[in-house]
Symmetry: D3
Subunit: 288 residues, 6 copies
């Protein structure tokens, strides 16, 4: 699985140290027998975190056996068994809280995402995440939004460029110059997106060669009128080499307003809500 990089190992080690500190004081009270356990969902939702949790327990003790009963991205109902575990009691206790924390958090994100995505199901619009992610967990939280049916926006400041409000101000509004400077210094596969706060900025971005335009906090009716204009400008520039299809995105959308935006002809709605507004899904680890 492509999440299983060395940096995930380092992250897991840091998480475990955070909870274990100088060692579990309670462990001494029990025999270290081999025991069975399972996870139960106390709410319904979309599961996320199984692969990470399996890796986490193996990192504590290679002899722990874990069987996923629900895969990442699959739904579950209240009371459903999510996974089964077997291993030394102290090893399981050492990972229990951290494993639950990560999976409950990620499943909360996947579940919230899937609800928003469900609202968009009759539209040609996708839900994308943002860089508003919990520090330290970006790769996993973005994986959770994928598990919930969303798509990912750029992963960091380095895999796509974005001219935001302040870049444009510091460029004295010369969006085209900004795009040009970035294009000549970025890896060629890196796309350039412009965050536009007005229709004019959006049009300049398309003319200037942006790959994407992010319409920030524009009302839906304005977006509705703007989209065909931007498509036309993009069609014109397609004659030229090096100019791509424009991807039109809105942000700053209140979830209650999702459908109004979805019918404007845009490609993407990017929202931090699945990460910044979601609650954890409650799971319980039960020993047998």
């Amino acid at each position: 699985m492509d999440l299983l990089t060395p940096s995930l190992n380092h992250l897991i080690d840091a998480w475990l140290d955070e909870d274990l500190g100088r060692g579990d004081l309670s462990a001494i009270a029990i025999q270290n027998d081999i025991v069975q356990a399972h996870w139960i969902a106390k709410q319904k939702g979309i599961f996320c975190g199984g692969l990470v949790v399996e890796h986490l327990f193996k990192r504590i003790d290679q002899n722990i056996e874990l069987q996923l009963l629900v895969n990442d991205g699959e739904g579950f109902t209240t009371g459903q068994k999510l996974l089964k575990l077997q291993g030394r009691a102290r090893s399981l206790l050492a990972g229990e809280r951290t494993a639950l924390n990560v999976a409950m958090h990620l499943s909360g994100i996947a579940t919230t995402t899937s609800k928003l995505v469900a609202e968009l199901k009759n539209f040609q619009v996708q839900l994308a995440d943002t860089r508003k992610t919990t520090p330290g967990l970006r790769v996993l939280e973005k994986y959770a939004t994928r598990c919930g049916g969303g798509i990912n926006h750029r992963q960091g400041l380095d895999d796509a460029a974005m001219l935001k409000e302040n870049h444009i101000a510091w460029l004295d509004g010369d969006i085209s110059a900004g795009i040009h400077k970035i294009k000549s210094n970025s890896p060629w596969p890196a796309k350039i997106i412009v965050e536009a706060e007005t229709a004019t900025q959006a049009e300049q971005a398309v003319i200037g060669g942006a790959d994407g335009v992010l319409l920030d906090e524009l009302p839906p009716e304005e977006v509705l009128k703007l989209v065909p204009k931007l498509r036309n400008l993009a069609a014109l520039r397609k004659q030229e080499k090096n100019c791509n299809q424009i991807v039109i995105e809105v942000s700053g959308v209140d979830p209650s307003n999702l459908k109004a935006y979805a019918s404007t002809g845009i490609d993407l709605i990017s929202s931090s809500a699945p990460i910044t507004k979601s609650s954890w899904i409650d799971f319980s680890m039960r020993y047998e």
Copy 2:
């Protein structure tokens, strides 16, 4: 400030690397002038994260100057300026998203905590957090619950012991034996808490010498009857050396039920809600 340990530095470095990756592609578009910026609250709440954010920006560039206008633990209203910043444009951009993410997340926790704490203001009960914290952020999230008026429960498996459901089962119910084993192996200042699912377990815990009893998911009326019994048992054992005051705590409390529990004579309500159920508070960084 006692949060500013070397391990916080390592955490901040990892957060920045997570967002910067191989370097900010957009930075090239702008001059690297010294600029001013400030943070604006887009919702009201309790602020948390100022000290961390200041440290984070200094770690990127020692010449950044940051002035907190609202201190950690203080309230703010919509539109209020939270802090002012001055430094090189590229340095500010390098830290902006990460700094906002951490402060918005922590302020969400502080704000949610303060609301729950407000409900308890006429009671002699405190709100405590749990070990359900976002992996990697425990110290900071527990700091946020303090900023919101809550108190912290144990910080990890190593600074207090807790006999939970499964420990008790593996001990064949012999709570007293478990307490004894832990006491003779733990640092002497470490307290021992017993999670009780029944009144009988709670009584055994007090008799056995526990420092705290956590009543898990008992209905308020049962708690009301149990508390005086436990206080009496604790008073009896106080004759003996080595036995302390009992701290009575409930967990698994639905927020809507907070007051019902608060009037039962318990000492603490521990709740993961401030961390697992809170939304981020929205801040915006504006350049001048």
Copy 3:
């Protein structure tokens, strides 16, 4: 075993790198056959470090097999075999010196502790360690004092609070205020200890609600008189909620004076001697 946290792995890696540097120059001289070896004690003592040593060798080479013949905390005599090893010659050589160093050092501490503990065997007093530990080895050295029959004091500045001489001076002597500030900011399970240099300070500490009083360098006859007073003050405060049994501790005790203190009615003698005054126990690794 609760010592086996990710941070122990990182510690072991750093130790091995310290000795191996850029690689063992002598290894080239030998075939890399599978060989047997064992450890012999060249002095008698209390063993400590077996679990760590086993983990260390497995970390070098998972195929090394190690069998402990003496467990941590058990005594051994001169000439006794402590453990048996089997594995590739170069793998064993890579870990030999580091493994011996850690076990000889820890066994020295366990042995010294056990001698001091033996002097206290007819008293109701326990021997506790301090924060005077070798930088980098606190968790392991505190484990060694447990193996020797001592108990651990707080593990760091974060799992219990202590008002020491200077805190009290900076508080202008207001011990009660200091205790109050700490109590309202610490995790609830954290105990508060006051280091008292005079009887008056000790009494104020008990009245102020301290969980422990550390009498520093008071002569035994003064301690003898003070203890009942402190117990009485503690009994009085026990009427109130939130006040615990007082733990009375002395420090700064010359080992020759141990019994004089032990008969004063105190609970604990804390001493850095097992760590700061102990010699390593000599072991030898012999190949067969």
Copy 4:
């Protein structure tokens, strides 16, 4: 500068530890006076590494002052002074070798790149690097190719996707299916490139919606014929939403053959030669 991330600090620390080991044995021979030094080029070339070297010396000792006389990306001649340094003699000696090594290596890459780029100056073709980079130095080596006038290809497996020979084989040749699977799982700004070993594969890639086609080891005359076909296929698909301009790239080009490929109408020649075939440029550090 966007290279100056926390991970660069960690890299620099590791480099210094590699050379300093347990400490410079020769330093004891000298007084630790403040001295001046400068770097002299012993060959002509394009400079790269100044910013990193400045950061490296500051990391050893904040009081070292370094003035760049030639900026990264600028040319220099034999005997030209590249930079001036002032600081404690032992601090300068501690960084000297490592700093020279990194700058000599990176300047070698920048210089080799600039020679290849010069051959392409009358063509509309750019020179791109590859993922054949020295382990541990990718970000810096890709910075060096930019300093030499080249552009960067993807930075890792995560910021753009590429279907290579084996992916296609495992997909039983179904390039379109592969592109589709990747598109629906990647961040939306991530481009998808197909490595084609035949004209047919290249055409399928364009039809399938690839953003780039990499023609691997096709002879120039075949490339010449293929390019207009691919451009036509791309023009057709441009009618559809979500399809971009095609970027046509060749790889596996012998440097002697560069111009033959440059005139085929392609966009990019990607070559590992600047990194895998370049020699270091010789610099000398002279104390005054």
Copy 5:
């Protein structure tokens, strides 16, 4: 193998993270079946890196099996199979580029070294490397020069001392005083080498008790005359205790001039050329 230290593990993790970043975007396109692959040499040369590559793949996935067909230090011809691999497709893809990069780079060094060594085969002279190594790769690059038939010079500033031009200048030319200061502060097994730019300095070095003299950029005819003088001086001092055989070395030698130096009676020619002037050897990984 003595290279397999914990620090090599950390290095490999960092390399893999560098290429994998936030995860391989292309992996999703393929089934994760168990597949076979092998490496083919596209040029002839001396192999180096097999042990590291095997360790690298095992670190990604313990179930990968790798069989070396050519050992480190052995020659291979164009088209020869170097090693065989079997494992999950995604695991092999995760390591492929990094593994090839390290082996192609190291084999380039071994091959270049072996060519220079071949020129010296009829002389009693050995080829040594220098501290001009790629930052982060010193241990491995020095291993590669050994695989190519060279010998290693000191590994860092800490395992042997060298008085260089500037040390001597700061000592006001008093080489003997410098040697004395270093000898009394270094581990006794550390040798002391003096870099001499003139015959006089070389003679002073021998008289002063140096273990080695490095004649820097002296013409071969001057070296020829100087060597017997230095041998005589060394023979004289051998009467005294603590004085060793002198090792005479030249540096700054143009490869075209190797034989002229080789016949002067010196012991060593140290050259950075195998590392700073070598090209990578091209290997290809082919799936079956």
Copy 6:
């Protein structure tokens, strides 16, 4: 100072984290004013650790000012002020225990070393340390033995080679073959030492070309007879190129026996006693 490498920074960070854990609970009790403090010696001895302690406090807070009143390697008497400090109270408290621990430990080693060295003052023999050092502290403990007047033996397995009892056994006693294999694989400045348990082995070592012979646990009278034989053998081999002066060393010496060995004509006595048998020197930090 040559100890101040990046790896020392990492070590200091780890030490501080070890003591601070999740943050100092007691710090809240005090104002964070700027205060003065000094260190007092409670015993006489040789100071070691001042440079490290200064660096440690600066790493916590750059505004801390520290003035050493006694330098590393200098003696002090009971009651003498060792250093003065000024800084924020919480910053000083954060480093106090760790700084004292390291300096008390290192000064204990320096002091013990100096006593043993004093016994040898009328002899031409030096006292060397061994690889029996506390894991994690080798560089600093070896620095402490130098401060005490001793000299360092090899620093790790990589900067000199040693054929020990088991190597010789696995070589079927062929010491000469072992020396030859190591010489042809080690960096040329690396010396080769042979640990001899019999006179015959010692003679073979000299004949075989060893740079040093370590006579392990031979009685002084046997050493006395053996030394001239070994010197004669060494004189003979000095005719040949590549053979050095022999360094004769004894180990396994009981401190009471030091002078008996010192008069045998050997060069070195290596002893782990300064590290494995020393007690910490007691210092106290006093605030003003």
